[in-house]
Point group: C2
Chain length 192, copies 2
DNA sequence: ATATTTTTGGAACAATCATTCCAAAAATAT
DNA sequence: ATATTTTTGGAATGATTGTTCCAAAAATAT
């Protein structure tokens, strides 16, 4: 039988995700990856087939983690409004190193002719909005806020807000400023 | 006396802005610039001192144009609410080629250690929010919407919304979806 | 211990990166 | 027309890009 790998593939993928997250695709060289991941050049090409493939795997990895974190942030709260608030609060705390959000960064860097990434990012948007919509819907059923609101439109607004906040978190120091914006929108749910 | 340039510096700068806007800094090579601008390599280095300098000048150029466009979009309208609506409508129409917004793209691509760009982008944010705030303030004085609202917070929210919308415009087909989000926020101004 | 299989280190690859340099061309002032 | 000054074309720079290749090392199965 053959020799076993000396590194844990999932750990390396996590590091690759971190580096691509911080620097983006084009500003990250294979040399950067080799140094940061701590594995050999040949191992990188053997395990993942190249820079682009590694990037796509890092992106998938991010999406899975982010989705789980999102559900956790929402459903750990006693009601819908607190859940939404916590979702944003959580995602802003996370940004200790000002990386923003992987997928938001990627969307902003998207070039118009990149149909593949475009499709992945659209899929990501659908996921996000569906999670929010379903969550709001269950909150509405539970009577946590007045009925009759356009939850589809609010989910869309929250996704837009999330993108904006993640972008601004890269230059804005205080998360409290951004939470202000969240609170303003949350009033839309509460009022009636 | 000496020979005169065969190209208009401002036109070349406009093209450079367009290319950096579409592709971002790292994905744009000097060769790309030489081809797209239609000027010689040496001319590029003689006129602008290098890639980074040209980028910064393109960024300044964008900020000036964008600011003028913004003021025009706002103050061409009969009242504050129509002005804000038009601002977003205008910026979404513009995106025929899905470039998003230069400064938003740049903010999302910002690396945490780039203090210079960070300062420029913060300055840009201050500009934006001040323009919006002053505009809303004058609308309030004119009695175009109920007094007593936190216009500072609303200006901040609108900036966040602008960033989010510009990001999403790169993957979302219909501007109408994004205008929906704008309308939801505009209700905040209209409602008592 | 030997055979087998895979990882690993590092050299080597051609292509591209941003930048510099120089001689030739061009355009105005005298 | 000649002198002067700047642009221009294109070659050349050395560094870095992503990727491949190969021999040596390592680890398990027999």
């Amino acid at each position: 039988m053959a020799r076993t790998k000396t590194f844990e593939q999932s750990e390396v993928l996590m590091k690759a995700m971190d580096l691509f997250w911080r620097k983006g695709y084009h500003a990250t060289s294979v040399q950067d990856l080799v140094s940061y991941l701590g594995i050999n050049r040949a191992s990188l090409y053997h395990t993942f087939s190249g820079k682009e493939d590694l990037f796509l795997k890092a992106l998938e990895n991010y999406r899975e983690i982010n989705k789980a974190d999102m559900l956790e942030a929402l459903y750990s709260q006693p009601n819908a409004i607190a859940g939404i608030r916590n979702l944003f609060h959580y995602s802003l705390k996370e940004r200790k190193d000002r990386k923003g959000c992987f997928t938001v960064n990627l969307t902003a860097a998207l070039m118009a002719d990149d149909k593949h990434l475009q499709e992945i990012l659209r899929d990501n948007q659908r996921d996000f909005e569906k999670i929010i919509f379903d969550y709001l819907k269950s909150g509405e059923v539970m009577g946590e806020f007045p009925k009759g609101k356009d939850l589809r439109a609010i989910a869309n607004l929250l996704y837009t807000l999330y993108n904006g906040i993640q972008v601004i978190s890269k230059i804005e120091a205080a998360p409290s400023r951004q939470m202000e914006a969240v609170e303003v929108v949350l009033q839309l749910l509460e009022d009636k």
